[in-house]
Amino acid sequence: MAESAPGRRVLEVDALTLQFGGLRALDDVSFHINEGEILGLIGPNGAGKTTCFNAVTGVYRPTGGDIRFNGESIVGRKRFQITQMGIARTFQNIRLFRSMTALENVMVGADANHKTGMLSALFRLPRHRVEEQQGHDRAMELLRFMGIHRHADELAANLSYGDQRRLEIARAMATDPKLICLDEPAAGFNPAEKVQLMELIRKVRDQGYTVLLIEHDMRLVMGVTDRIVVLEFGRKIAEGLPDEIRDNPAVIAAYLGVDEEDAS
């Protein structure tokens, strides 16, 4: 279990603060992710998990603190640039390109690293042909990896709920990220599907990706993650190995709603 070798730090979140008017959604949160690990980000509803995600992927601009990816600050960069640097994500409520096919969805992800523009496309220059082929092959490979290649030509909107979730992960992986952020990938899954998903997330990690996982389901989180960071009311209240977190009184209090001493 405790195999989190002190690898290189892929992502460092340093004293991250996010203020919306009078509301402090994130307050001085610091954590890091090592290369090749699965880090779980958990906490009760409204703890700031998704806000933290949004800050990491550039949707929100932090009001304080710093976020470094491979040692480089990403604060203030555009969202597509952050994706091109190597952070990809999925969404809590599925956001696929609904009227495009599954294959096209994944190819959009693969296009993140492509440079084909108007002229290459118009005159079918070698760049277009090479990138199109690459993108197509990679997309099919990922669809196969996710087990949904039979639906490649299906519209994203017509896939089953579970397949849509899988397609989102495939699309994120297609951007060739180093860090992949999954926002409640198991939401709406039944226990059997959750077990499958756990397997899948491990397989994703084994392919060399680093995973940041937001999840509600404690069993899933405990089973799949290497380390866990716990947020509550925008603050980090605990960090450690799954076993440590399980027995941490503050975490138990946060989840069971025992009166907490930190008023914020």
Partner: protein, 379 residues
């Protein structure tokens, strides 16, 4: 029923071997080129010059293809497209007649470039707003262009610009027209079109020019759509935030869509100005923006053949049925209402939309079936 048979027809076309398909397309193109010479009885317009009507149709086709990139592919509602059309026309007019006397073939690329730049200038600040706001800003843009033309003497003011140059003529040979005695086609040796003389009387060479441009645009449209650029546009239309987070520089691609649309609009405007040889601000009323948009929406936005059909409907039908011209707007409005309730996706929606709809219906039918079963079980 009609849906099924058209789907069957499509299947049969798709199943044809490639050479047969190409032959079919070539035959279709030849027919299109020959149309004004054949003057087929029911299709030909009585009372108005058929060649001239067909040229107008090709201009609408160009405009619809350009606007389709903006509205259909990238999902940017542009209500001021006539502004680009006007910029193209005015640039061509100024360069060939009003302030200089360039040859038209030199003026057209400049007109197109100027229009493209204007597209970027308009897009750069406004494409940051979304949806309805963009529609209002572009609506304003179209009117600003027209009012500028009305009020500035240098642009000919309200009386416009005349004597715009025609494309250079190469008079090679004469092609006779057909004329129809009932259902019998006869060759009319007195009625001929000179290949290729761009004159005042015979509009057919203009139609050939316009048709050629439309065909080139159709090819280009297809090449761009089936590429990273086309996918980026669609992803942006579907979910801009998600697209951005998947590495699509959405703003850049929206600007690209806007300037590509402007390019085509400017080209259409320049050709229109040359054919008319006279333009004034009345040629660029807001009404035209709405007609252009109607062509795209009626035909089926997002489908290049759909918008061609839409352009034909909007430009050709009113000319063909001139006798009802007093009721033109009434009939048009009625048709639009019927369309929106019976075919909200347009006459020829993109294939994907058709497929998605069918699946939705199937699922709905299934669900209804289940409900009925449950009720039956309960009862």
């Amino acid at each position: 029923m009609t849906n099924k048979s058209s789907a069957g027809f499509r299947q049969r076309i798709i199943a044809l071997p490639k050479p047969a398909k190409i032959a079919l397309w070539v035959a279709l193109a030849v027919l299109a080129y020959a149309l004004p010479l054949l003057e087929p009885p029911l299709i030909s317009t009585p009372g108005t010059d058929f060649g001239g009507v067909l040229f107008t149709v090709t201009v609408y086709c160009m405009v619809a293809l350009g606007l389709n990139i903006v509205v259909g592919y990238a999902g940017l509602l542009d209500l001021g497209y006539v502004g680009f059309y006007a910029i193209g026309a005015y640039t061509a007019a100024i360069l060939t007649s009003f302030h200089a006397s360039w040859p038209l073939l030199l003026a057209i690329p400049v007109a197109v470039a100027v229009t493209m730049v204007s597209g970027v200038l308009l897009g750069a600040p406004t494409l940051r707003v979304r949806g309805d706001y963009l529609a209002i800003v572009t609506l304003g843009f179209g009117e600003i262009i027209r009012l500028t033309a009305v009020n500035i003497e240098w642009l000919g003011a309200a009386k416009g610009i005349s004597a715009i140059q025609r494309p250079p003529s190469i008079e090679l040979f004469e092609i006779p027209h057909l004329f129809w005695d009932g259902a019998v086609p006869l060759v009319d040796p007195d009625d001929t079109t000179t290949f290729l003389e761009f004159g005042v009387l015979d509009q057919i060479p203009y139609y050939w020019l316009g048709l050629t441009v439309v065909i080139v645009l159709l090819f280009a449209d297809r090449l761009i759509k089936d590429s990273r650029v086309g996918r980026a546009w669609e992803a942006t239309r579907e979910d801009e935030d998600a697209a951005e987070l998947m590495g699509v520089p959405t703003f850049r691609f929206k600007l690209l869509a806007f300037s590509t649309g402007a390019f085509i609009g400017g080209l259409a405007g320049a050709l229109y100005a040359s054919r008319q040889s006279f333009i004034n601000p009345m040629s660029f009323l807001l009404l035209f923006s709405i007609l252009f948009l109607a062509a795209v929406v009626v035909g089926g936005q997002g489908n290049r053949w759909g918008v061609i059909v839409g352009a034909i409907v909007v430009a050709y039908l009113p000319e063909r049925f001139r006798e009802f011209s007093e009721f033109r707007v009434l009939v048009f409005g009625l048709a639009l209402m019927l369309l929106s309730s019976f075919r909200p996706e347009g006459l020829l929606p993109p294939r994907r939309t058709v497929r998605a709809k069918q699946l939705e219906h199937e699922i709905e039918a299934l669900e209804e079936g289940q409900l009925e079963e449950e009720e039956a079980a309960r009862g």
